[in-house]
Symmetry: C2
């Protein structure tokens, strides 16, 4: 029987993602930051003031997972919860100065990983890879 799953695109995709994520985690570890923390900080940075539940949707995780991360980052003084002006029950998430500094340091590491990959591929192939990956995402989304 066939069952040759070894040379499928989705397996190559999985292995590449796993390798990249592992490398990021390793590089981020000396900074005392997990990849999930970096992702959350970066999301809040790019879209400040949104609620935890909204953030959870963008990151494809549950609101509780976000709440857990927020609690930790708030404890470190990198993130702060403000009261939403209209909805008293909702909390706006914002970065503190310390949070911005931590994000800057972490992003330097992440950008280095990214650069290493894109240089290994070359500029045009990197762009093409991104195009193909986006197309995969789009194809899968409306499956």
């Amino acid at each position: 029987m066939g069952l040759g799953a070894l040379d499928r695109v989705t397996w190559a995709l999985r292995r590449a993602e796993l390798a990249v994520q592992t490398l990021k985690e390793q590089r981020l570890r000396p900074l005392g930051m997990a990849a999930a923390h970096y992702t959350l900080l970066m999301s809040v940075h790019s879209e400040p003031g949104l609620a935890g539940a909204e953030l959870a949707r963008r990151l494809n995780v549950t609101p509780q997972a976000v709440a857990s991360l927020v609690a930790r980052l708030e404890g470190r003084g990198q993130l702060e919860r403000r009261e939403h002006p209209r909805h008293r029950h909702v909390q706006e998430l914002h970065l503190t100065d310390a949070g911005r500094e931590a994000l800057r340091a972490a992003d330097q590491v992440i950008a280095d990983v990214e650069r290493h990959i894109t240089e290994g591929l070359g500029p045009d192939q990197s762009a093409q890879l991104r195009t193909l990956l986006d197309q995969v995402s789009k194809t899968v989304r409306n499956a």
Copy 2:
């Protein structure tokens, strides 16, 4: 400041992988099988008789995670642990007939997902994507 992580290749990679994995999980759910189960069964199928620890290395997880999955699949009668001929302490992992049948059904679903993606991309672009992904894996591995 720059900090534009949104249009990085590694983010596109992450999102694509997440989307594909989520879709697989959804499609596999009606069969009562998780993606991790499918992966394990497929690995055992492609290389029968290897030990749990060895399997863990290929899947990039811990031996305990494999043991947990094996215990569950053994309970379902889809997998069996045989005694290694030389090392009495080691266990060879083999598929049962029921395991092979379950794998066949699951692989049909997975192959369908794969087909949907490759058809959305076209044959040559699919091949190119796989090449690029493998190159990313290789680049990252010796970073």
